[in-house]
Amino acid sequence: MPHQVMGEALDVRRAGSYFVLSLTAPGISEDARPGQFVTVAIGGLESSMLLRRAFAIHRVQSRGVYGGTLEIAVSPHGLGSRWLTERRRHDQLSIVGPLGKPFSIPSRRVSCVLVGGGYGSAPLFMLAEHLRDNGCRVDVLIGASTEEKLFGVLDLKRLSSSITVTTEDGSSGETGRVTDRLAELIDRSSADIVYACGPMGMLSAISAITAKRRVFTQCSVEESMACGIGVCMTCVLPVIGDDGVTRMVRSCVEGPTMRGDRVRWADVGTIPADAWGAAEAP
């Protein structure tokens, strides 16, 4: 059950090229599960930006001095996210959440590989804690184009059995991409499941690798969203259902976590001709 609340900025701190915002978010932090997200309004009535921005829930604390608090990691990109990184202590923010389908958690003690690209590692913190509490083995693989864009290396090290870091420019860890190391890590850790969060191209490549190895994979996708709550139909992507039929599925309510083998990665951005309700060829 999502909440719509006014939260207060408690702290805004830099982390590499990202900013971590700590917010009070009564109700939301208590209910949040790994892989869910919140949406934040950019400014009040005076703002020209109407659309909320979605952020993966990075960490929550349900009984701090401030009541429930949560953290999000913001990459300063366009006007909206930059506005957020300029918030100061005591600024008020309108927050809706927790939203979306959380990651599925295995009911058995299995071996899990968590892959994060860029700020995509933010939601992996809660997930790693959760999996460890359930007795799962957790190996982490994170990558970015350059060191500054890695998020949370030190903290993730504490939460995992092993951590592998890649950067494309070699400024930290191994030179290359996470996908260069994934197969090896799956084999080394005898992974039963892969969780991934990052850019769509990375998720697509990961799903290809894990499909070959028949390792169950959950990806957290990032499609542009207008509402974040399931009413507008902007955030769709082609997903194969249990019945084998491809549908244009809302990633805000039926995602953002999705089975990697169910998303038709190569067809994202199109309406596949065999999708349910696709127009006949003209």
């Binding site: 006014m6 509402c227 507008c232 244009m248 309510v253 951005g269």
Partner: protein, 361 residues
């Protein structure tokens, strides 16, 4: 700016103020509030029911439904614009059968008032939709979204041609029960909105919904291509509010007793009030829901106070009030206790005063 989710009839937390009677007559349907959700911005109400009591507002205008299931347009389907957004959803939806079985059934069981929006690609399709709905009932009114390309007319939008617009409304009227009011939803992208309104009214529409989105486009300066997969999209949000107010005012002026559902950028109770003053009997809230999922309820609440503050007991009494005759003109100078400036000193610029030797430093 704390947004409380206040149920209808719930406790006020602000300074205690009177609230107007919000009961609204819309072409013969009685609604507890003039505030509705706009088609395509609330799906079928289910998701929003988590943020406020969906039965406490006037009603839900459902996402335009077509005869068959429809996958819609490719993504990206939206782009944010200054105080607005573009969308090109392409009417993704489950088709009328599934809509009736699932969405309409849910709305009925929930006790919400429903206005069903329909859309088609041919005149015939609209007629078939009306027929199917006539057989099931369970809704208050039909809204006919005629901002769709007409496949029989080189893809020209029905709403942009008075004859095509009229043909659709006639088909719907012939296939519905004759009691359920039909609202024609018009596009502002026309040379004369009054001309189109006239033609749909002649064709049997009980009222009109003003306005659908404006045709717009955004180019992504990174890829240097149109931002939307569908190239153009519909512009909505507060950016277009002045266009909506103008359309409502013009149509009200031409047809003073025609029921109008206003739409276009309503974000606050004050905006809704503006629409009512211009001549809308009801107001639908669209894009603002994306900013504030409880917007319809908040707007209802704000409006109830604003109407009462202006000394109106019933929200219906304020509809079209901006069209009233000019009051006798009393300038502030005349209203002032001080005597009015007789002897017109103003017309005497050459008197001794101007001889004064003022020097600007």
């Amino acid at each position: 700016m704390t947004r409380a989710i206040i149920g209808y009839g719930g406790t006020d937390r602000g300074p205690v103020g009177a609230r107007a009677d919000m009961t609204t007559d819309l072409a013969g349907i009685e609604l507890p509030s003039p505030i509705l959700t706009a088609s395509g911005c609330a799906a079928s109400g289910k998701e929003l029911d988590a943020y406020f009591d969906i039965t406490a507002i006037g009603g839900v205008i459902t996402k335009s439904i077509m005869l068959k299931p429809r996958a819609g347009r490719a993504t990206p389907r939206m782009a944010e614009t200054p105080s607005g957004m573009l969308n090109s959803i392409g009417l993704q939806g489950p088709g009328i059968e599934a809509f009736i079985e699932e969405d309409l059934a849910w709305l009925e069981s929930r006790g919400a008032r429903t206005i069903v929006s329909i859309a088609g690609e041919t005149v015939d399709e609209y007629g078939k939709l009306a027929q199917k709905l006539r057989n099931v009932g369970g809704f208050e009114a039909l809204e006919v979204n005629i901002s769709c390309p007409n496949v029989d007319d080189r893809g020209l939008v029905f709403a942009c041609n008075p004859d095509s617009a009229a043909a659709v409304i006639q088909a719907v009227r012939r296939n519905s029960d004759g009691r359920t009011p039909i609202f024609a939803k018009l596009s502002p992208d026309v040379t004369s909105i009054v001309e189109i309104a006239e033609s749909v009214v002649r064709a049997g529409a009980a009222g009109v919904t003003l306005i659908n989105t404006l045709l717009g486009m955004v180019i992504d300066t990174g890829t240097m291509r149109p931002a939307l997969a569908g190239l153009t999209g519909g512009l909505s949000g507060p950016a277009i509010r002045p266009v909506a107010v103008r359309c409502i005012f013009q149509v009200r002026q031409a047809f003073p007793s025609l029921p109008i559902i206003g739409a276009g950028g309503v974000r606050t109770g004050n905006d809704a009030l503006e629409f009512l003053l211009a001549g809308a009997s009801a107001v639908s809230v669209g894009t603002s829901i994306f900013n504030d999922p409880s917007a319809p309820m908040r707007i209802h609440d704000e409006l109830a106070r604003l109407v009462a503050e202006r000394g109106f007991a019933r929200v219906s009494d304020i509809v079209g009030h901006a069209h009233r005759e000019r009051d006798a003109i009393v300038t502030e100078a005349q209203a002032d206790p001080v005597e009015s400036p007789e002897g017109a000193p103003a017309s005497d610029p050459d008197d001794e005063l101007s001889a004064w030797d003022f020097v600007r430093e």
